[in-house]
Symmetry: D2
Subunit: 397 residues, 4 copies
Amino acid sequence: MLRVGLMHVIKDAVHGDIPVSDVELKLIDTPEMQKLREIRQMAVAYLVYPGANHTRFEHSLGTMHITGQICENLSLPEDEKGAMRAAALLHDVGHTAFSHESEGILVRKKEGNHEERGIERIRNGRIGEVLEENGYGLEDICSIMAGKGSSGIINFALGSDRMDYLLRDSHYTGVAYGVIDCGRLVHTIKLKDGRAVIEWGGIEAAESLLIARFLMFSSVYYHHAVRIASAMLCRSVESALEDGSISLEELFSCNDAELGAALEKGKRSGELMRRIRNRELYKRAYELEFYRLNENGRELFRDYKGMEEAEERIKEKSGVDEVILECKQGYDEKFGESKVTIVKDSKEYPLESLSEIVVAIKRTEEMRRRAIIACPREDKKRVASVCESFFKKLIKG
Amino acid sequence: MLRVGLMHVIKDAVHGDIPVSDVELKLIDTPEMQKLREIRQMAVAYLVYPGANHTRFEHSLGTMHITGQICENLSLPEDEKGAMRAAALLHDVGHTAFSHESEGILVRKKEGNHEERGIERIRNGRIGEVLEENGYGLEDICSIMAGKGSSGIINFALGSDRMDYLLRDSHYTGVAYGVIDCGRLVHTIKLKDGRAVIEWGGIEAAESLLIARFLMFSSVYYHHAVRIASAMLCRSVESALEDGSISLEELFSCNDAELGAALEKGKRSGELMRRIRNRELYKRAYELEFYRLNENGRELFRDYKGMEEAEERIKEKSGVDEVILECKQGYDEKFGESKVTIVKDSKEYPLESLSEIVVAIKRTEEMRRRAIIACPREDKKRVASVCESFFKKLIKG
Amino acid sequence: MLRVGLMHVIKDAVHGDIPVSDVELKLIDTPEMQKLREIRQMAVAYLVYPGANHTRFEHSLGTMHITGQICENLSLPEDEKGAMRAAALLHDVGHTAFSHESEGILVRKKEGNHEERGIERIRNGRIGEVLEENGYGLEDICSIMAGKGSSGIINFALGSDRMDYLLRDSHYTGVAYGVIDCGRLVHTIKLKDGRAVIEWGGIEAAESLLIARFLMFSSVYYHHAVRIASAMLCRSVESALEDGSISLEELFSCNDAELGAALEKGKRSGELMRRIRNRELYKRAYELEFYRLNENGRELFRDYKGMEEAEERIKEKSGVDEVILECKQGYDEKFGESKVTIVKDSKEYPLESLSEIVVAIKRTEEMRRRAIIACPREDKKRVASVCESFFKKLIKG
Amino acid sequence: MLRVGLMHVIKDAVHGDIPVSDVELKLIDTPEMQKLREIRQMAVAYLVYPGANHTRFEHSLGTMHITGQICENLSLPEDEKGAMRAAALLHDVGHTAFSHESEGILVRKKEGNHEERGIERIRNGRIGEVLEENGYGLEDICSIMAGKGSSGIINFALGSDRMDYLLRDSHYTGVAYGVIDCGRLVHTIKLKDGRAVIEWGGIEAAESLLIARFLMFSSVYYHHAVRIASAMLCRSVESALEDGSISLEELFSCNDAELGAALEKGKRSGELMRRIRNRELYKRAYELEFYRLNENGRELFRDYKGMEEAEERIKEKSGVDEVILECKQGYDEKFGESKVTIVKDSKEYPLESLSEIVVAIKRTEEMRRRAIIACPREDKKRVASVCESFFKKLIKG
């Protein structure tokens, strides 16, 4: 890090020089933020894309940087810009090890989400002190993090958070799909009654980001091997929580490596972690495209229970110890995520009503949605043939 | 990873698509190689360059890739090329956690270097088996790794190892200095009596790589905060070995995070690790440029003992518990590293005899070489003033 | 250009080192190919994107390079690969100055297209000689250029031609949308009965290229100012052909600058060229979205005549000398262009039947298709109000 | 070009989005500036690097952009920053076709340099009017262009002009050597008594730029084929001026293509232009390294006359019509160019006194300096053998 006058400059692989103020540097140097250095942005995707070792720490810096650019473009007053930048910097501070994987489990256990945990960590730790010592409104920032005020700049479907992670994941995986035109997007975001919206002229920029995200999902985030590794990790965490190898408190406080080490101590969780470590991933035995499901099939996949039962049944029938039925819980929520308002002649329209492409992307995501049944390599054939007959009755004639 | 026919393709952030054969994939999937995913290429430099989380694993893939290109350019027979690629892939398999930092300590303790450990791990582990099962000459590969045969292609001053790490460190730190013209360099390397040399026409390509390396050293690898973080880490390891918090065996088998966790358990080593984690790095109290040293001064810095004594004396005089005198041991060896032979009209010349720039780079590295005396922020003033008087008698009048 | 052994290497800004054989170099060094250095790939788009000065020459090299990679991936025999590379290198040799703009006019005048002219130039010039002197089958290459044999590798909707121009136009305009994953696309193209097709597994790669192209069209190629400049240029050429300022022969033989100079000599053509040169472009007075047209409106835009009449009427009513009605002739053909066959379980499917996204792209292109009525800045208001009433009766109620 | 509020944004392939004010856009839209779109930045280097078609127009935009960043970093007042940006935008407006090639001839003919011509064009054309209509101080800007005031920001050895052309030439040639760390350099430039200087902490940034420039010179700008093409072009211009095919007035007003067309009309100039166009470049017959010259040799190369005589003598002795002795006139001036002042503890030092690398670069440039004797391919042998004996007596024993 170079020190330049009162401002500091942090060299970032994606945005180049990121200017940082004195207070922001103090926030960065809190243990809560430093911990994000040890949480990979893409969890276990590095097993498929070896460059994907980047962390929530650098993503936080990048999100702050883009947020500042949007605020400047909107000519927000300095203090509001400062608060937005701080909230952006802190937006992931509530993440636990293996962020999204753990998040799913915690939400299912009603343990709150990372936004809530983030606010709590800020209030009760060094970050809150730094903010107050330096005249920042603690409540303002928590309120932005809770999704109020102009928080849309950071977290709406075309916000700084998403812009940064698409660019960053592209840079580190080497998959070019996420290379969006950040400069143009920054110019198309407006605030209307405090909500982030897009002007009519920016519709193509908006589409391009949603397309980039779609392509990154289909080729990177939902790469079958990434999904399998991720499901194995979830299973490991669940099983460790069940047999008491780790406690919820540990889960909250660990970084990736610490959680990995803790998981290794459990029996089943340990076996799964050992496999992840050595990249002895389960193999795809069967793929079930959702659009082929009949009413019974859809019923089965409607809740977590049904899927657990299906898994058990497949294990039983094939006489195999380990089978994972993975179908990307959280897929449904994604449909809501892309809600973008376009303002044209001062009227508001949902982006989808103006963009067939956005509609097609959603439908395609739905059409290509599929469950993966994975198991150890040696059991693949047996499991495949059990699945064939098991799922037959759940598929349209 | 995409599977393409018999070849596999791994997406790399630096080289794009890296084709990998079936056997190479098996080598990659050994625990010994997978472990390299958890050893950062640049150890603690990520504290200064937040993107520098890339690992020895991807560097190994990249080195294999460039090695293959050089072999193709030299029209080496397929089996020789295969052996060279395998040796390149495996060239870092002997590295321990925080590679260079640990390496220094182990060498000082006469525990061998990472090349020797690498050969041992290959012979006694899964890698050796894979090689033999697939018709590779285990001894050929060990011999390349021991620096024999055409090993220069990988490890000479302009070899594939260095090419890859310069490009890779640039990509992940965001510092452009290491962006070398890999394609041209690949074409300028020749073999003469089995040794890697450069043809006269490639002298500028050779210079450009050595310049890139020089610039990366001065702005990245030897950035004062990187040096301080790295020295604190070394100190932590040494102290943990001394008080038995970790054993040599552990040091050999740990990855970065595991070693970090182990170090945290010791008293002094733990305090240092906690600081590193939270980026509460020691601050520069004093800098001593080596060219200013008189004969006594040079004597003091000649060996490790002298420096330890100086450190003790400074601590005593300033009444401060923690002072680190850091002067980049290993700097001396670097002088030897750049030995490159240029072939002109079938005569051989050392590169330095033909390139004033290469000479100037070396002299500049020497001129700018300096010791850093670092300590906790609060002791900075006191230590600075003690150093001022302590070093006065070691400096030319 | 570096000479490396028997192969030559040309440094390309997009692909890095492009290896070129002796014969290919001879082909490159013919006057017909050298002329392409003086024909900008994107005609007058440089008026809006100042970096867009790249030429058909470098695009030809790039297309040859990608073609070679596809052939290698398909393991085509060396001579077939050589013929394909040569045909790719030569694929644009029939282009005249301001390629697409002139092409439209020539096609309307039934003067043949650039593929036909290319074949003619090869047969009757130095290129044909070079091919025959070096054992290439002249007829093979002409037949590939005529769209037979495996020509699809070059010119189908996902072929090397398109891959190169998307990447290249991105690099030189600075608009990232065209950055496609060339490596992956190269691997997904297969030959079936001599036709280029895509395997099922490559559907997302296929979509990503068509998306990239769509985004480049909407933000770059169809940028309103690019369209206006391009329409002014067409008008200049037409008018010069009419009043005899240039002959068809000249049009065939000129490069961009020579044609520009010739056009400047005519009265109306000269005034238009002077404006283009000084970037005094006409301004948009009115935009007419095609989806709003009623039956009469669609009738009017069905052929070139109707549009000319409309233009005349608008000029008359507004008492203005210069009005251009631009509606991207050739838009219709584009619909056919994307015909891609996907092979799944050895059955063939049109891409559109499997990809809602491709369908949505086409529909969006159609929906957003619009005519632009442009005129000198000072007449803008008058023309706008005339258009308002003139087009009212052609628009759905 | 996107219009964003009162600011306009021009998309640049090197810097991304370049914001441009209303007045700056008016300056850009003058015929004098638009003409720069037709003057290639690197003249005929595109014959060797096919991507090198970028123009002085985009370079002017880029120089303005970097200049603005330096001014902001120095916190210059808005009006001063505005003047600096305008002067940077206009700094090349005096360039003629094939800038440096023509410049050499014109300077030899005492026709002034491009800075003087630029000031004249501003005063007597549309640019001066735009400046005055918008409250810019015409004299201030001319004075900056004449090298007064803070003009160093633009034109000193580490100024914005050089930064932009290194980055730009790298982007378009595909040679990575010119990729400098623009962000860091912007931060290291300071003003001392109105002169641009570098602070001690920026010495490595300074070195890195001079190194980048050195590498670009040796591999791109002084590539032997580029030198030969450039010498053939100079010869063509000289010969056309001599035989009256073109006048000095034409030379001043033409763009590249127009001058090319005019040169084609002369007999000798036309033959040379035809060769350049078709890339039938002369070949190297002989190379003479300057460090090998004895006193007589040095005498011969001291002025232009001596070299002309040598050329004549070689032609005579070999009985060949065309020989070019090229030795990069202007090489000498380059030595002065790198004068950079480093400020350390408020004392000033010439960069060379602190940097062995900078000294070595200069010495290497001098050591590797060489004359090239080139001629048509068929005469190569004869000319080579004549040169061998002709230069023998000019070479140290």
